[in-house]
Subunit: 304 residues, 2 copies
């Protein structure tokens, strides 16, 4: 699987029915980009067959305990596993304080560097292939963010008939062409714009963290491949959802419809609900495309 | 079950094979006395059918992350569950700091009081029925403790033939006699010393936390019903055990034999070992009584 999402924990606040506390792993070309890291995340990573050493970025949405208390243990296990590579950590300022204090109290000596970035709206991480952007959500008075995981546009496919016209066969030189370079092959100039189709848009995944239905979510999620939206409650508890700064499944469906996303995943379920099917039914009343309630260790492949 | 132990997590350092991080629940008359509280403890409590609201005491052996990082989440879930009753927390001074800092960072408002007691050798908790004592163990330079959970002696059984001699039948008055009171029943003076057999010794459970084979463990565990001794390694890694301040299964068996305990439970297994049977085999070379490797959610009833 080249790109996909693995749900590690889908409970709100209190873990129930083995659902685990919030954590979502975006898998991208063998690396893991982790969004929220609730207690127990490191165990679920291992259950999912993902080594903590493959985690490149940890991004935390806000400083409620269920969303970050698994970070300290995960960092310790990375050291126990002999990690050397730097880890990118994104979140509110307090997250760094949490890391530092636990390390002071435990005397734990980390074997790798942390590159910490305090979350604010806009691009918070970027490498050759992916960009992570943060956006403010609507979770009461809490400084809470959501994240967009965005693959950069990929090079267009090779026009094979065009190669043939040039008297060339496909070869390793094409990887350089796909990186945007012009190369001379058997005396023939091969330019990207001649032999490649239009760049293909990358995959885009949006994760809300905790939020009321929120205009910024609709804006950033427009046309996304996958919107992972919290739905702590059902519509029968709509007023409680409102009071506590959360969403109902019906509301999440409406946000997904307004944003025109391809697929909606519901998560962050209150422990009072044993069954999750009804969340899907409720969201479908507003959104006709693909909808599902995330389950722990469920995998959603976005490109095989 | 009136008294018993439920193993919640039995891994060392890094959780492996679903074994969970260190936490042991002593169940006593409907209450839970928790020893160590590794990440994931609150989930395992619930899996074991034990509500966090039943936890009376949390005692932490030392400030290594795998032994206490589950505390913050457990406290939050107690509040979510509406706990009002005070919780007794015992551990190194840094444990209280950890609680306070997480509450500051998260803005979490606890619904109940914590009675914190900094661990030192001797009695650290006592109520009508049980006593918890701490003792220093041998875990390198770390200030690490083990705990003894001790039931106070129980009143002797009623001598039914003696009651008959006094012309009395058993009745509710006996509960007062068992509390040590003399009572007059149908004009007859009934004194505890006349109608009760000798007090029966209470159950005694000793938990080492992390330690090398240690003389204090042998001293406090003498004749205990159950010694829960760490055995991070097998004898093939004896020198590593020595360096890191841990014990092998063979060594744990020797401690159990010297202390003459009734039963030895091994725990705190390194992730490098997939199979646990060999720990039992190794310990049995030194100790002929009941020996087992603890498994998560395994229950050891001490009195039904």
């Amino acid at each position: 699987m080249e790109v996909g999402v693995v749900y590690l924990g889908v409970s709100a606040a209190v873990p129930a029915y083995g659902r685990g506390l919030p954590s979502i792993a975006v898998m991208y070309r063998g690396l893991v980009y982790l969004f929220d890291v609730g207690e127990g995340t490191q165990e679920r990573l291992v259950e999912a067959g993902l080594s903590p050493l493959r985690v490149k970025v940890v991004a935390v949405t806000h400083m409620h305990g269920d969303h970050f208390l698994g970070l300290a243990g995960l960092l310790q296990s990375m050291t126990m596993g002999g990690r050397r590579e730097e880890l990118f950590v994104i979140g509110p300022r307090g997250l760094l304080e949490y890391i530092e204090i636990v390390e002071r109290l435990t005397g734990h000596v980390r074997s790798f560097d942390i590159v910490f970035r305090e979350v604010e709206e806009g691009v918070v991480y970027e490498d050759n292939r992916v960009v992570i952007k943060a956006f403010r959500v609507c979770h009461g008075h809490v400084a809470a963010y959501g994240y967009v995981f965005e693959e950069k546009p990929r090079p267009g496919r090779v026009k094979l008939e065009k190669l043939k016209e040039l008297g060339l066969k496909p070869g390793p030189y094409l990887s350089r062409v796909k990186r945007g370079e012009s190369v001379i092959v058997n005396g023939v100039l091969v330019r990207p714009e001649d032999v490649l189709e239009e760049p293909r848009p990358g995959v885009r995944v949006v994760y809300t963290g905790d939020t009321r239905p929120c205009k910024t979510v609709i804006d950033v999620a427009r046309g996304a491949d996958l919107l992972i939206h919290e739905s702590t409650f059902l519509e029968s508890e709509a007023s409680e959802a409102h009071e506590k700064g959360h969403s109902t499944a019906l509301e999440a469906g409406l946000v997904a419809a307004k944003a025109g996303v391809k697929c909606l995943a519901l998560t962050h379920f209150s422990a009072r609900y044993r069954e999750l099917d009804v969340f899907e039914t409720e969201a479908r009343r507003n959104f006709g495309n693909c909808v599902y309630a995330a389950r722990p260790l469920l995998i959603h492949p976005l490109r095989l």
